[in-house]
């Protein structure tokens, strides 16, 4: 059951499914109000209160990309890797626990109307927003190639999570599945094919992707959107804590992002 909280973005949602995935991560599915489920678009995120509500620590919500929505079931799913205090708490929440959620927040990935071929470049939990984008794109009849990198086969997103129509190509550091090496090694082969590239993963992956793209693409096509991570407080553009330096000045990851055009980003 989802309970709304008299505000327009916060709701309480009961956890209805918890599935292990990608090694120690979990897919947590919770009930959400209809407006939230319908509003959520690929690249957006929710902010989840990751503590006992009676406690004031850890204080701030944690942002998680929307991994999947199910309008008929009235649910949303997030992919959570246990990392620090907030995510560990969230991963431990059992079936039936009720989460305090705010969202969906942020700007969706911008898929241009004429784009037909989407290339995804995913690292780690960066797989989450790209999974939703893939599903939506396939439903819209577009072609998707999904590249993913991980340490080993066990920490890759299972192919079964992706729509059948998606071409799924993987790289592992230890060579236990697919290409031995980094996901960005796979990218050059697809740069001519793709109309747009969408990427989410850790900072070093972004840097390596940028270098690969600069080296291999023709002009500024395809363009690359990178969904970046920033510590967030408010999630709604009020605190200016999550800014990203761009050619158009300081922009908020929570409202203007999380996805930015690679060519707009200023790399520190």
């Amino acid at each position: 059951m989802a309970t709304e909280l008299g505000t327009k973005l916060e709701f309480m949602g009961e956890i209805v499914r918890v599935e292990p995935v990608m090694g120690d991560s979990v897919l947590t599915t919770f009930v959400a109000p209809d407006w939230a489920v319908r509003a959520a678009e690929p690249g957006q995120f929710v902010q989840i209160l990751s503590r006992d509500p009676q406690s004031t620590d850890p204080l701030l919500r944690r942002p998680y990309s929307v991994y999947r929505t199910d309008i008929s079931a009235g649910t949303m799913t997030v992919l959570v890797r246990p990392y620090g205090r907030g995510s560990a708490w969230l991963c431990e929440q059992p079936l039936g626990a009720v989460l305090d959620v705010m969202g969906p927040l942020g700007s969706p990935f911008a898929v241009r109307p004429r784009t037909e071929r989407l290339l995804m470049v995913a690292g780690g939990v960066g797989a989450a927003p790209l999974l939703m984008l893939s599903e939506v794109a396939v439903r819209a009849g577009k072609q998707v190639t999904y590249l993913m990198g991980a340490q080993d086969a066990g920490t890759l997103l299972p192919a079964s999570e992706l729509p059948e129509e998606v071409e799924y190509v993987v790289a592992t550091i230890d060579g236990s599945m697919g290409h031995t090496g980094f996901v960005t090694d796979l990218v050059p082969a697809y740069l001519g094919w793709a109309d747009q590239v969408f990427s989410c993963g850790p900072e070093p992956m972004f840097r390596s992707l940028r270098d690969v793209v600069h080296r291999h693409r023709l002009g500024d096509r395809p363009d690359v959107q990178m969904a970046v991570e920033r510590p967030m407080a408010c999630g709604i553009g009020a605190c200016l804590g999550c800014v990203v330096e761009t050619r158009r000045g300081m922009r908020t990851a929570c409202v203007d992002g999380p996805a930015f055009d690679m060519d707009e980003l200023i790399w520190g």
């Binding site: 305090d100 967030m232 408010c234 709604i236 009020a238």
Partner: protein, 321 residues
């Protein structure tokens, strides 16, 4: 006590001695830097139901703010070093007050500067801007003419700023005190004497955090302002001290996260409260306060908010004989 059947009166005038007055329907005010320019929260809560709100701190010129990282979480609190990112007073005046002029909720503009002259200039520019209900003067800023020593740590410098702002505007002037002063009461009395209509406190404490993996400060700015529930005991103590020592209204803030927290500040002598960090984690807290403060008063048999202001503070109001 016993139950009262009518809805308690929670309205408050925060500038009773100013002809332009600052009457709020209720005492709940989002704090500066924590509520953007009012519109950011519009998707989350009914902004018009608030008592007032304070805008992000405005400076004489555009500022792009500090580089990343700007925020870090700490036990029951957070550090921020935003660096006063804002469009500067000119662009600010063109962009936001026209929108606010159509709103029901009063907008208070927070101003920051590094010289007395700049504070005065900003106050003058704001004086007759429609949509601006009051000015909150942030004196937790370095005074470049005093080697970067914070205005708010020195009574004379705090009074100088207040006097200059007072001269420049007939708007209600709230002076926002710094918790870094060795004696916050001395500063409060100095700004009262210099013509402040009200004081608000506290601004953030200065703190820091180190990323042990990077062997470097978490914040690009090294230090940042500590806010949130962690600082509440310090804030409440200062509000108590100041409320017992000045006769202008005191606006309390620092870690307020629920109705009971707010009641503590009222009982310490605050006439109104501001809420910052708690609304980041839960915007609904603002609505819970708007509804919950009168509900608490009713449940405890009080007819008006002013009945509890200072009740836990023997130094408040007239001395018992």
């Amino acid at each position: 006590m016993g139950m009262t059947s009518t809805v308690p009166d929670v309205s408050v005038d925060l500038a009773p001695s100013n002809p332009r007055e600052l009457v709020l329907r209720n005492p709940v005010i989002p704090a500066s830097g924590c509520f953007g320019y009012g519109q950011e929260f519009a998707g989350a809560i009914d902004v018009q139901r608030l008592g007032a709100f304070v805008s992000k701190g405005i400076t004489p010129e555009f500022r792009s703010g500090n580089p990343m990282l700007r925020i870090a979480e700490t036990p029951s609190g957070m550090l921020n070093a935003i660096g006063l990112q804002n469009p500067g007073i000119s662009r600010f005046i063109r962009k936001y007050p026209p929108m606010w002029a159509t709103w029901e909720v009063p907008a208070i503009v927070n101003i920051s500067a590094e010289s007395v002259e700049d504070y005065e200039m900003m106050a003058r520019r704001l004086d007759d801007v429609s949509g601006v209900a009051a000015i909150e003067v942030n004196i937790s800023c370095p005074n470049i003419n005093a080697g970067g020593f914070c205005f708010g740590w020195d009574a004379r410098m705090s009074a100088d700023v207040t006097r200059a702002v007072r001269r420049a505007t007939t708007l209600p002037v709230i002076v926002k005190l710094s918790p870094g002063a060795v004696d916050v009461v001395e500063i409060a009395q100095a700004v009262e004497d210099a013509g402040a209509d009200a004081v608000s406190l506290i601004n953030t404490l200065v703190g820091m955090a180190i990323d042990v993996r990077k062997r470097a400060p978490v914040l690009a700015n090294v230090t940042g302002g500590l806010s949130g529930p962690a600082v509440r005991p310090v804030a409440l103590r200062m509000v108590w001290q100041v409320a017992g020592a000045v006769s202008i209204p005191v606006i309390g803030m620092g870690g307020i996260s629920c109705v009971e927290d707010a009641i503590q500040f009222f009982m310490a002598g605050a006439s109104a409260i501001q809420v910052g960090t708690a609304a980041f984690a839960q915007p609904k807290v603002l609505m819970e306060l708007v509804d919950g403060i009168p509900a608490w008063l009713a449940a405890n048999g009080y007819a008006r908010l002013s009945d509890i202001v200072g009740v836990a503070n023997p130094r408040y109001g007239t001395e018992p004989d």
